[in-house]
Amino acid sequence: EAGVAQSPRYKIIEKRQSVAFWCNPISGHATLYWYQQILGQGPKLLIQFQNNGVVDDSQLPKDRFSAERLKGVDSTLKIQPAKLEDSAVYLCASSERGDEKLFFGSGTQLSVL
């Protein structure tokens, strides 16, 4: 079974630039999550999708972050404009409908200079 795919693996940008991350969940997984993990901390949920609808985006900084999941499969997370404090690893995860166990991708490490 293929895992959760994320790209790019690394990204370095300057502050005020824009960046986008892509995620392809495990086939058939209805629920998709984006987490932000700052160095030395645990993952923090940014947004949760059920199919292509948003379940929870309460911790998403909506003035600069946006996410979409078209057709209930792939998802993109965008930051525009980036700030220094956005430097982190962005993790995508997916789960089967009704299953609490999450499968994570390897993440995108973002450095904002």
Partner: protein, 108 residues
């Protein structure tokens, strides 16, 4: 907040020894999960214990849950160098919330 808090923050043991990690939380939960993260990688699910369960085993892993004390422990028996990683507890109330993690180093 339902965020789990792991203890200790860092643990260093010799290969073959047992490693015990603890997690405490503040509000009632549906289940508690433990995940492992190797350096530069995503998290891997280890084990899930539901609020009506007290103990669960999976291979060399043993998890306990005490809902009266709002705490859980993860025991890794006969540790190996490959167990070196960060370990996170995640509490599931209305949503899954992760703690800050425990860094485990297993010396060969």
């Amino acid at each position: 907040s339902q965020q789990g808090e792991e203890d200790p923050q860092a643990l260093s043991i010799q290969e073959g020894e047992n490693a015990t990690m603890n997690c405490s939380y503040k509000t009632s939960i549906n289940n508690l999960q433990w995940y492992r993260q190797n350096s530069g990688r995503g998290l891997v699910h280890l084990i899930l214990i539901r609020s009506n369960e007290r103990e669960k085993h999976s291979g060399r892993l043993r998890v306990t849950l005490d809902t009266s004390k709002k705490s859980s422990s993860l025991l890794i028996t006969a540790s190996r160098a490959a167990d070196t990683a960060s370990y996170f507890c995640a509490t599931d109330g209305s949503k899954l919330t992760f703690g800050k993690g425990i860094t485990l180093s297993v010396r060969p």
